[in-house]
Symmetry: C2
Subunit: 137 residues, 2 copies
């Protein structure tokens, strides 16, 4: 009946107000219970581009591709200028600052090692001096 | 003449085989000397989506947005499954391993400090022993 056909359509076919074919390219990746997911990728890429991009991939990679397209579309809706690239540059900055921190800490280790080595040798010199004074008695 | 009109069209209008209007939305960001740039974003987003996304932004942000859209489109062409998200997860892994390395190095510092402190106190104990032996003479 009409209602069950209606409720079995995927989110994409519902959004596009068309019949959902049995071999629908969208259906496995855009379930009817998440209409916002398709609305989001549709807004950025358009239905035909998403369909084509999925079609060009082997079936076993399509779910991950749909997830990534959704993630990228969300990024672009949240950040209409930089999209995902904004996140990439934030992560690059984090890596840069982590590397800087690491270099500082490694310099600190070298400094500590150096300081203790000098302190040790000066203690040995003091001990040497003490012993040679005792011998001279 | 025909040739000069032809060469003044932007890469988008050339690609779409249409006249390039004086207020063309693409023209400032898709110069005719880089046809590959428009072909790339066209393949992923489609001309009308790019036009709409640029149109929705204030003029001073459009150049950066066009650069980012181009970058993302390139990512998706190179990596049709993960696109930019592939790069984001690589960067997350790099940050994770840098943080791990940092934690190791900080533990190393604590160990060195600890070892030297113990060594120092045992040297002082030896020195104390030596001096009290001398006093007992």
């Amino acid at each position: 009946d009409y209602l069950s056909m209606n409720s079995s359509r995927c989110a994409a076919c519902k959004y596009l107000r068309k019949r959902c074919p049995s071999e629908c390219i969208f259906s496995p990746y855009f379930p009817p219970n998440n209409p916002q997911r398709f609305a989001c990728v549709h807004r950025i890429y358009g239905a035909s581009n998403i369909g084509r991009m999925l079609q060009q991939l082997p079936v076993y990679l399509r779910a991950e591709a749909a997830d990534c397209l959704y993630y990228e579309a969300q990024c672009r809706i949240e950040n209409p200028v930089y999209g995902c690239v904004g996140m990439i540059s934030t992560l690059h900055q984090q890596i840069f600052s982590a590397q800087e921190q690491l270099a500082k800490v490694q310099a600190e280790i070298a400094l500590i090692n150096n300081a203790y080595t000098q302190q040790e040798s000066s203690q040995f010199q003091q001990l040497d001096g003490l012993l040679s004074n005792l011998n001279n008695f």
